[in-house]
Symmetry: C2
Subunit: 334 residues, 2 copies
Amino acid sequence: MATIQANVLRRVADEVLQRAGVSSEHRQQQIDLLMEADLRGVSSHGLLRLERIVKRIRNGVSKPDARGRHVWRSPSFLAVDGECGLGPVVANHALEALKPKARENGVALAAITNSNHIGMLGWYAERVAQEGFTIIALSTSEALVHPWGGRIAMLGTNPVAIGIPTGGTPFMMDTATSVVSMGEIHDHANRGQAIPLGWAIDSAGNPTTDADAAKQGAIGPFGQAKGYALGLAFELIVTSLSGAAIGREVHGTLDDTSICNKGDVFILIDGPRRDLQDYLEAIRHLPPAEGFDEVLIPGERGRACRQKRLSEGIPIADEVWNRLQALAGCEATA
Amino acid sequence: MATIQANVLRRVADEVLQRAGVSSEHRQQQIDLLMEADLRGVSSHGLLRLERIVKRIRNGVSKPDARGRHVWRSPSFLAVDGECGLGPVVANHALEALKPKARENGVALAAITNSNHIGMLGWYAERVAQEGFTIIALSTSEALVHPWGGRIAMLGTNPVAIGIPTGGTPFMMDTATSVVSMGEIHDHANRGQAIPLGWAIDSAGNPTTDADAAKQGAIGPFGQAKGYALGLAFELIVTSLSGAAIGREVHGTLDDTSICNKGDVFILIDGPRRDLQDYLEAIRHLPPAEGFDEVLIPGERGRACRQKRLSEGIPIADEVWNRLQALAGCEATA
């Protein structure tokens, strides 16, 4: 594991995307997104993904110049054909278009299809909440999650992020509706560690503690039947409104060659803003339960990690760092 | 336990509310809501609640004629002062106002405060999804749920319902963000049964299997840290947009004398409607995992229960049935 300063990582990542023909403006958006994930301790959504992004550009399934074609189906409903653009470029462009409509009408919605992976949803949620909007962000993915009581993967990990102005630092939560990420299962497999029972089933649909077997099987929904119901509802909302592919038909966030056909939905609300800080402060200062050091507010651990990593550097797997340098043409250190 | 035909129950309930001075139109809405809960097997939200509804009218904290005062803050953002009206009357009136705005603008939102308990959210979600709308319905409640890692209740059970048109029977999920309902814990206490570890903590904030101790403590969030994050996000969205009370300041859904100061939010979307039936059918026909008879689609068990109870009658606790008859003036059978 190397520890690299953020500005060094950014420079190398920028070189990688420049070599792939990405414009300065679009490079910045893609790198901001990935770096925020690494800074907040979500390395599965960080620079680790850059090599795939480059391969997808080279293979023609990602078009780095595209920003998405906008069609207003009604004054507050934006349908976006992502035109195979980079996820954050298409998503940011849609959010910028939504903001004036949400201000005007109180609420506005974008349904996006045909864009590449939009990454860590919390990045979008926190930024627009800082500008005074409440946001619900949903995204689908390849089928990796089994229905509660089922034996095969039929649902995406279907993350949700919610951002809310509070009068101070915005509230931001961001979670997948799977009990863990597939990245976490791969990590366990790479380290030869068992996974806890309840995380996943094997390819025969039986509960397993073998991380390698889990890779061939499916992850459980978080929160059992309730989390399954929510994850399924999010998949149906996104598909219904965006026209994206659904379930096992979804491709393109985990491979280098398929057009990315999942969907994304943003609901942006410009409503009254109540000061929520006293309430959050009261939760933060509750006496912690046995086995806990403190009561956490969602998003805050990531923010603390970000502060630390901005000053101390970002831990990054040697393999990932070496690949990045090679892609940037810094072969000597690779 | 008595088993009573739905039309008999409806007649008795109607008499109860007529005696309390509720108009025919508003009686029907309140009774439809409660009966749908009993029909679908959610007796905690059924006619069991009628006595409290009557007491609250008598105590002046529920005004059965009120439908809520509507202020359009912007073309798609409806602020509703519930004027202490009956929950379903205020909620239905708000939904009717939202529908044309959602059709016109693609999405519309109502933020309601100062209405009485709006009950089982799925009742609203399924009906508007039948009319072609996608809906997200949120509601807050008294603080009964502890933050993940905390020792006291700070969050409502904060239910969420989502309804989505599918091309056939709509998809509808409806769940609290607590691991179980307080009603379920009371049921266990009444029967002298232990509760599973993980459901609740006692008044000292320690995990308990004693249902009586749990009644004095707090229920856990569903899905641990992830469910806590979602339940908290829903509480903050509702409070922020509606100006309702938050956390331990919330009163009025579990007592007879306080003005009900929780909030409710409906987001109504009129977007494209994709046929989702093949996908749901594929999930329904998956081979079930060990220990499961079938793979369920959320909402369908309730619908099957409804069919059965419409033909065979509704099981209702003797005590509840006797109280209802007494309230209706049918003292002889009470």
